[in-house]
């Protein structure tokens, strides 16, 4: 596999931002498995692998394109399930998505993939 250009978004990352943007506009909460299902092109029969999905989510979060937040453990316990990690698209993420749609990686490069300090 070739080395990617610095700052450019992979197709999977653009798709994640698309789904996150869509979820944000509908005020929906997005978490890992829901995202994997949304990304699936064949009705969830072939989902993104764990490693690829969470690596991409990590990169987008570190770049400041997504915000990640753990669900309140109490509400997860109420539903007897493990807590979810919710992802929200940020203003920088929207800018990068617009640039990626226009095929201009330089906009995304300006945002850079450097980790964002909390």
């Amino acid at each position: 596999m070739g080395r990617r250009k610095q700052g450019s978004l992979l197709p999977l990352e653009v798709n994640i931002l698309e789904v996150a943007n869509d979820a944000g506009s509908k005020d929906e909460l997005l978490y890992g498995f829901a995202l994997a299902r949304a990304l699936s092109t064949n009705d969830g029969k072939s989902l993104a692998s764990h490693g690829t999905l969470y690596k991409a989510l990590g990169r987008l979060s570190e770049a400041g394109f997504l915000e990640a937040e753990w669900e309140d453990p109490a509400s997860a316990e109420t539903e007897h399930r493990p807590r979810r990690r919710f992802y929200r698209i940020t203003a920088n993420g929207k800018t990068a998505l617009i640039a990626a749609r226009a095929g201009a990686p330089s906009q995304a490069r300006n945002q850079s993939f450097r980790p964002v300090r909390a």
Partner: protein, 181 residues
């Protein structure tokens, strides 16, 4: 059996979480725990979704195992990047702070100056001794056998070698400083 029981009793889920433990073992506990919790939630949600869709348990196990296997390379890459970044951060923050770098430079310069002075004293002293007395000093000497010809020659050689070494170090530092300006 509900999704919670399925994911908790699943050998596939256990194997995946053990794999997470393995590839995150060199990472900070918080990062490792976050990844593990995220995977635990993902696996649970997939079992829950499959149960709602009426999928047979065996095919869900297979689908989850396949997702984990297909992501192995990405898992290792992610872990390596995190580990490398952490190591680099620790090195720059703990070892090569500007203050430490300045102190190390000052100590090295002081040591270099002391060596130069000692070498010059040793060299001039031994040469003077060779010329004046042929390397043999009679009368008051620091200890029996001191200042004989052998010792004078040893002092001469060691002093010359030290001076050559310090000159080489000084020249290297000067050239390096010039090249970075």
């Amino acid at each position: 059996m509900n999704a919670s029981q399925q994911s908790q009793g699943s050998r596939v889920a256990d194997a995946i979480l053990n794999w997470v433990d393995l590839y995150t073992r060199a990472l900070p506990a918080e990062v490792a725990q976050d990844r593990k919790d995220e995977l635990r939630s993902d696996i649970y949600e997939q079992y829950a979704h499959a149960a709602r869709a009426g999928m047979p348990l065996r095919s869900v196990d297979q689908a989850i195992a396949l997702r984990a296997i297909r992501g192995v390379v990405a898992d290792i890459t992610w872990s390596t990047i995190h580990h490398t970044r952490r190591t680099r951060t620790m090195t720059t923050s703990a070892e090569v702070t500007p203050a430490r770098q300045r102190l190390a430079g000052q100590l090295a310069a002081a040591l270099w100056a002391i060596l130069v002075v000692v070498a010059i004293i040793g060299l001039t002293g031994s040469i003077t001794e060779m010329i004046n007395t042929g390397g043999q000093v009679h009368g008051l000497v620091p200890w029996p056998g001191a200042a004989n010809i052998s010792l004078t020659i040893v002092v001469l050689i060691v002093s010359a070698a030290t001076l050559a070494l310090t000159a080489a170090i000084g020249l290297t530092r000067w050239l390096r400083a010039r090249s970075t300006v």
